[in-house]
């Protein structure tokens, strides 16, 4: 049975009864309102009808209507210059079929860039996409990565390792990336989200529309003091003529000042993208190592809160690292195979978990990540290091009710004192 049928059955079987006494009481109020209205019909309509029986009055009224209409048409256009509204941009995006964007951001001191090409179907849904990241992880041995979703399946190509992950249908990795690319980069979605947030009072929207037509409209988005994203700011630059977004900048307040966190440039709109871009067939070497990704990723949330499941999945992956159970760790980390996790860890050996938590929601307004600070002891080349690790958990894209680890990074310093044996 389809999920929609199950839910429909749930709706149909759910019943609402009516308490007869309360029902009579409510109807009494309704009846009273009706009685009051029908017994006190206002005199005005009658008077109006009597007045309008006069031909002279009818002529005067008609003349007034003509005069008012004429006056309205004569109001100079400069007095009613159309102010920019988000709806203009959302409307402008209805005809977009191809998008080419480039984003830059920093991870620690490393600059990362991600270039994406998206093709939408006639309903505005992404049909195919390709993203190229300058590097897959801060561990440069892994090198750059290319993600391709061609409509039938997805591929993640790591040329430095000669690995190509594949999965039929939408993979967790490309699904998440697509979701991220769309929610953060697809200007229509960004604007729709901003419009809704503005309506709900979740953001403060400041529109600066310059008089010079060659200058962009600047939309500044800030967040109320009580918001988790109070320290964030977004600036959108919108072309005055096309109403399309040219650039988006995201800032985070650090040390009392907003620092540029990420820049996204919208390079081309509706420039047809060659079909070969959405296929890796001609790029992969013959000796490429194909790796099929596992079906089920992460842990089931069940009745745990977002904080609890995030902590649980993070704890389990750390325990798996200690036990050197890389298959389990891989299943919790994007569903990648165990040997790949072993490669990712390299010479790092997790010896002890000192603490896991607290867990809180990442303040980035565009991400639904749970962030957890962990204190760990790592052994690297025979030396012990105290490591403050930031680990991020996220709902698994395309697998509702499941959570996985999506990224982790940390800072280490040589451990002081004597080592405590691993539990």
């Amino acid at each position: 049975m389809k999920p929609a049928d199950e839910i429909r059955r749930f709706f149909k079987n759910a019943e609402l009864g009516i308490d007869p006494d309360a029902d009579e009481k409510v109807f009494k109020d309704v009846f009273g309102a009706h009685k009051e209205t029908t017994e006190n019909v206002p005199a005005m309509p009658e008077i109006w009808r009597i007045i309008m029986r006069s031909r002279k009055a009818q002529f005067t009224a008609a003349a007034m209507v003509v005069l008012i209409t004429y006056l309205c048409l004569q109001i100079p256009k400069s007095l009613v210059a159309p102010a920019y509204a988000l709806d203009d941009t959302i409307e402008a995006y209805n005809s977009i079929r191809y998008l080419h964007v480039k984003s830059f951001w920093m991870v620690a001191v490393e600059k990362c860039d991600l270039e994406s090409w998206v093709e939408y179907d006639e309903d505005g849904k992404p049909a195919r996409f390709r993203s190229q990241a300058s590097w897959f992880s801060t561990d440069k041995r892994l090198g750059p990565a290319t993600f391709v979703q061609d409509g039938d399946g997805s591929h993640t190509w790591l040329p430095n390792l000669n690995f190509c992950f594949r999965r039929s249908g939408e993979s967790v990795l490309t699904g998440a990336l697509l979701q991220y690319t769309r929610s953060d980069v697809d200007p229509k979605l960004v604007c729709e989200k901003l419009r809704q947030q503005a309506r709900d009072g979740e953001i403060i929207l400041d529109v600066n529309e310059p008089k010079q037509k060659n200058e962009p409209i600047v939309l500044v988005v800030t967040y109320p003091a009580e918001s988790r994203s109070a320290n964030w700011k977004k600036v959108l630059y919108i072309d005055q003529a096309t109403r399309l977004v040219k650039k988006e900048e995201k800032f985070e307040k650090r040390g009392g000042q907003f620092q540029l966190e990420r820049t996204t440039e919208f390079l081309d709109y509706n420039q047809k993208i060659a079909p070969e871009m959405f296929s890796l067939d001609k790029e992969l070497p013959e000796n490429v190592i194909w790796i099929d990704l596992s079906e089920e990723v992460g842990l089931v949330q069940g009745d745990m809160t977002d904080e609890e499941i995030a902590k649980e999945v993070i704890s389990q992956v750390l325990q798996a690292f200690i036990a050197r159970d890389f298959n389990k760790a891989g299943q919790l980390f994007w569903g990648v195979p165990g040997f790949f996790i072993e490669k990712l860890l390299g010479v790092n050996v997790l010896k002890k978990i000192i603490s896991v938590g607290p867990v809180y929601r990442d303040p980035d307004p565009d991400l639904n990540l749970m962030m957890c600070s962990c204190k760990l002891i790592l052994e690297i080349g025979g030396q012990y290091y105290e490591t403050d690790m930031k680990m991020y958990a996220v709902p698994v894209s395309g697998q509702p009710g499941r959570w996985m680890i999506c990224r982790m990074f940390g800072n280490s310093k040589p451990a002081s004192g004597e080592m405590i044996p691993v539990e």
């Binding site: 759910a14 009516i18 009846f31 029908t38």
Partner: protein, 181 residues
Amino acid sequence: MIEDKLLILRFKQGRHEALRQIYDKYKVELLRLAVVLIGDSNTAEDIVHDVFVKFARSADRIRLTGSLRNYLITSVINRVRNHLRDSNRHRQTGLDGAELLVSYERGPRQWAVLDEQLALLSKALQELPYEQREVICLRMETDMTFRQIAARQSESVNTVKGRYRYGMIKLRSLLNSEVEK
């Protein structure tokens, strides 16, 4: 439809039995819709009560261009949206699950009596963002098409379909976990 047009005609003429028939015909549907949209029976009762009172007061000036049912459903949705907007504006910090649970405890009026399944369903629906919840409730409770819902929400059909899809996935997972409990 024709039956409703006759009812409206008699209602506008001040015939109280027409009002009674309209009230009896639509009260359960409107209450169900309000309950699933807002999750709190007391507030849902207030909303539907107000909709009927306002409707009764409009007898002398009401001019329906569409169906009576759509008019009443729209009135409920507008009031739910207004209520949520106002409550968001006045919400105090510290609102948590405990407060939500308290709102499920019934006051003295008890016009609407929810069975366990409806209480469970309305509770699960409250976990969804309002826009998704509204799409699902309108589809399930009123059998509206995506096109009609899109027109009502001033959104594209695709946006509405997306909200429906994501909402259904989450609702299913929420209901499954509740049933397992």
